[in-house]
């Protein structure tokens, strides 16, 4: 692996692009949701203004060390996911620090942010956060099951644990995409994506109607700013993970932007017309069909 | 309604009968007989739905009027049972064993009128007010305007006119 300064700077540039694209994407999605309900919605630049405002608040309180570290861990989860993810296939600059076993590491980083958040929000002492955390952890555990099954199926199919290798195998034509070569794994993963992106029906974790607003109830100012920055990075990177694994990866930033947009749009598309599940209902849902499809996808490639 | 009132008259000493509408009548009964009457009406005459319980402060006569309004869901009639209790020793037998929601009304009356209902569930918990330390506000001798002026900060410049006198002076200034 290349540890030179230029590689590092290019990775930072990639992170910058990803963050801004994530914010633009989230405001665009909110505008789309607004159009469905007949509104105009927020201006496209609203996330940046919100971010500036959050970082410039004058008073901040803390509940202890872990309260500080919660958003930091969460950001580490997002940035860590980004660091080990090859963003642009074939580009020497935006491969980041991907290596041959990065798929396993990325599965771990997906969970990492949630755990850090649990520690930090628990320190906040707000009962809503506690309930949100217990819901979040139990739901996230089951989201991982179909995702992991799909990844195992992919590992068997392509005989590798490197994302770059998987993307490489899908090049050539659209028919080479995992979407067509391994549809069951794709379906299982896309269903688990619905939970990972935190839109309804699987957003009971931060349900503003019941436990306002779940884990980040006590977070404000810079803490919330960090969480929001991370949210922008995480959404693009997770979408990029699915793009790399199932939709042939991206050979240019434009392709990445288009593909991540549509992958994110899938969760919004489902979320806008569904109410949210209760936590035990969503746990059962994930352990039923997506898991079953995931197992089928493994059995096919065994 | 008339028949029902006649039947009640045969069993209970009621007075002050007011047949208000086709479907509504008010009767008065002594304090001790009220709960047995309500129970009797509920079990034998189908007055099983409870509508409201409220109090009226007749300060001139030094007594409270409690009105139990009950309704018969089968023939859609309502009966108001009036009970007069002493204002100094405001206490009434609780009826929470008859209807499941009546304890809320009793709790409110305890707070807003100071009428006690011994043994009613949670009757001593505050219901609406918080940190109230003067006489119960719904009593007639509590002057809300005076209390408001003393406690809160009236914005200067606001004047209060008696509407009748004000209109008279505006319309007929010469009189």
């Amino acid at each position: 692996m290349d540890y030179s300064l230029s590689r590092f700077l290019y990775t930072l540039l990639g992170l910058f692009i990803v963050m801004n694209w994530g914010m633009l994407m989230s405001s665009t999605m909110r505008r789309i949701i607004a159009r469905v309900s007949g509104r105009i919605g927020i201006p496209w630049y609203q996330p940046w203004i919100d971010l500036i405002k959050l970082y410039s608040l004058r008073s901040q309180i803390t509940h202890g060390t872990m309260f500080y570290l919660g958003p930091v861990f969460r950001l580490m989860g997002g940035v860590g996911l980004f660091l080990f993810m090859p963003m642009i296939y074939g580009s020497a600059y935006f491969m980041n620090y991907s290596f041959s076993g990065d798929l396993i590491l990325i599965l771990y980083f997906q969970f990492f942010g949630m755990l850090g958040m649990a520690l930090g929000a628990g320190e906040g002492g707000q009962p809503y956060s506690a309930i949100g955390i217990s819901r979040g952890l139990s739901q996230f555990t089951t989201i991982e099951v179909p995702m992991t099954l799909a990844v195992i199926s992919l590992a068997i199919q392509y005989d590798t644990l490197s994302i770059t290798e998987i993307v490489k195998a899908q090049q050539g034509s659209i028919a080479n995409w995992t979407l067509f070569t391994n549809p069951f794994a794709t379906i299982a993963a896309m269903l688990s994506l619905l939970g990972a992106f935190g839109h309804s029906p699987f957003n009971l974790v931060k349900a503003p109607n019941e436990i306002p607003i779940g884990p980040p109830t006590e977070y404000h100012g810079t803490f919330l700013g960090v969480l929001r920055t991370n949210g922008a990075i995480l959404h693009v990177t997770e979408a990029a993970l699915f793009m790399n694994l199932f939709f042939g990866g991206a050979t240019s930033w434009l392709e990445l932007i288009l593909k991540t947009f549509f992958i994110y749009f899938w969760s919004v598309f489902v979320g806008v017309v569904f109410p949210r599940f209760r936590i035990e209902q969503s746990v059962r849902w994930f352990l039923k069909w997506p898991t079953l499809i995931g197992i089928i996808s493994i059995l096919i490639w065994m | 309604m008339k028949q029902l009132v006649e039947i009640i008259q045969n069993h209970f000493p009621i007075n002050d009968i007011d047949l208000r509408k086709k479907s509504l009548a008010f009767i008065s009964i002594h304090q001790n007989q009220a709960i047995p009457l309500l129970e009797w009406l509920k079990t034998t005459h189908g007055y099983k739905a409870f509508v409201l319980l409220t109090a009226v402060d007749w300060i001139e006569e030094n007594r409270f009027q409690l009105t139990y309004l009950i309704s018969n869901p089968d023939n859609f009639t309502e009966l108001g049972v009036r009970v007069f209790i002493d204002r100094e020793k405001a206490e009434m037998v609780s009826a929470h064993h008859l209807w499941k929601s009546i304890w809320v009304y009793q709790r409110e009356l305890k707070e807003m009128f100071g009428i006690n209902f011994p043994n009613s569930p949670r009757v001593n918990e505050s219901f609406i007010l918080e940190g109230w330390d003067t006489i119960p506000p719904y009593r007639r001798d509590f002057d809300t305007k005076q209390y408001s002026e003393e406690t809160y900060f009236p914005r200067p410049g606001r004047s209060t006119n008696d509407p009748a006198k004000h209109m008279k002076s505006k319309l007929y200034p010469k009189d």
């Binding site: 309900s37 007949g38 509104r39 009962p127 809503y128 309930i131 819901r135 309804s200 009971l204 349900a207 503003p208 109607n209 019941e210 436990i211 306002p212 806008v272 017309v273 569904f274 109410p275 949210r276 599940f277 209760r278 936590i279 035990e280 209902q281 | 007011d18 208000r20 509408k21 479907s23 509504l24 008010f26 099983k48 739905a49 409870f50 509508v51 409201l52 409220t54 109090a55 009226v56 009105t67 309004l69 869901p73 108001g80 209807w99 499941k100 929601s101 304890w103 809320v104 505050s126 219901f127 609406i128 007010l129 918080e130 506000p137 719904y138 509590f142 809300t144 305007k145 509407p163 209109m167």
Partner: protein, 391 residues
């Protein structure tokens, strides 16, 4: 292999007085307050929940955040001054308050209301019900985070409020129904404009049906949730859509026809399931029925005529001693006012009885036990209106 015991009705154990045996120091339970600063409660009230895990084991309703002492204030206002005061009793649907005070006063003073005024009163009451239901029907799904229908419904509600503005001059508080009659006739072209808005509601109804009542997730959440047993209806005093969802007909318009409701052809919808879904369904049918009723009123009402009975000078209007109870059907159920007069120009005592009084206190406290924290939105299905509880 996986046997999950869904019957949690025995938990927590109760003592002889009916109080839950909860040891708060055991660290098994958590106190959770929903409200008053909480977006999920209907208005400014709070629920004190004791939860274990995600399950509510005890619930206490706390009201009083909106208490203004109306009943006291009205005792020191003349009858005509009471009238702008009393409409603020329930903010979401103020017209039944106007109607109740007016008809109480008319009944005690012995005033006959002209026919045209009665039709106009009916129109105002039904339009008020329409605008409330346009919020409530999709609002039920909104508590389960499906906010889309709420947005659509609120748009049409704004248009109905425009019609109110045209008719009465007020957007939220109308002050249209006066003791003795109403304040004005319909403006020119009002019927056509209202008809246009009703057409929008006609389009909205199937859309919201597809969005909510065929929605698998909504069905999963709402079916079987918070079932009100049939016996409770009379024991607790449950009215309106909540009672009709339990299969018991409770509609003042049918049982005690007031105004000209006896001349209108309508049949309130009843169902037997009695859960959140059924109550929501009843409201959807109510909305449909209300549109129908408004159309019938517009067709049957006279164009012109007396709109106000002669009343004495309102500044010196003394009403003979007496007491009465008048009720009407609001969107939440039976809505009644108990008025006592003592022969002076001010009421002796006014008491307003709305369905929320029992719905939000004793019924809700019972229904929430053994429910999930996420289902605290049960209160929306009971359609509570806090200002009417504490007044």
């Amino acid at each position: 292999m996986f046997t999950i015991n869904n019957d949690r009705s025995k938990f927590p154990e109760l003592d002889d007085a009916g109080n839950a045996l909860i040891d708060l120091t055991s660290h098994k339970y958590l106190k959770l307050w929903q409200g008053p600063q909480h977006p999920g409660v209907t208005g400014n009230m709070s629920l004190e929940l004791t939860v274990t895990g995600d399950e509510i084991v005890e619930s206490r309703t706390h009201v009083g955040y909106l208490h203004r002492g109306f009943e006291k204030l009205m005792e020191r206002r003349t009858f005509i001054q009471c009238f702008p005061t009393c409409i603020r009793l329930c903010v979401a649907e103020p017209d039944p308050n106007e109607y109740l005070l007016s008809s109480c006063v008319e009944e005690l003073a012995g005033i006959e209301v002209p026919e045209t005024a009665q039709w106009l009163r009916m129109l105002a009451l039904e339009m008020a019900r329409l605008q409330v239901l346009l919020r409530q029907v999709p609002g039920q799904a909104g508590t389960f985070a499906l906010g889309l229908g709420y947005q659509w419904g609120n748009y049409i509600r704004d248009l109905i409020l425009d019609r109110f503005e045209e008719l009465t001059g007020g957007r939220v508080y109308h002050m249209y129904i006066l003791p003795g009659g109403v304040r004005g006739l319909l403006p020119n072209g009002f019927k056509n404009r209202l008809e246009e808005n009703l057409k929008l509601v006609d389009e909205f109804l199937p859309n919201v049906w597809d969005l909510i009542y065929t929605n698998s997730v909504f069905k999963k959440r709402a079916k079987g949730l918070a079932v009100i047993p049939k016996e409770w209806i009379d024991e607790y005093g449950i009215y309106g859509p909540a009672a009709r969802a339990a299969g018991i007909m409770r509609d003042v318009r049918k049982t005690h026809p007031y105004l000209f409701y006896s001349e209108i052809d309508f049949e309130p919808f009843t169902t037997d399931e009695s859960d959140v879904f059924a109550r929501s369904l009843v409201r959807w049918h109510d909305l449909k029925m209300t549109v129908d009723i408004i159309r019938q009123i517009l067709a049957k009402m006279p164009e012109k005529g007396d709109i106000k009975a002669p009343t004495p000078n309102v500044m010196h209007w003394k009403i003979p001693k007496g007491e009465t109870y008048v009720k009407c059907e609001s969107s939440r159920g039976e809505y009644g006012m108990y008025l006592v007069t003592d022969g002076s120009d001010k009421p002796r005592r006014v008491n307003l009885k709305g369905p929320s009084y029992t719905h939000a206190t004793s019924v809700l406290e019972k229904l929430l036990v053994n429910a999930n924290v996420a289902d605290a939105a049960i209160m929306v299905s009971l359609a509570t209106c806090p200002p009417e509880i504490e007044r």
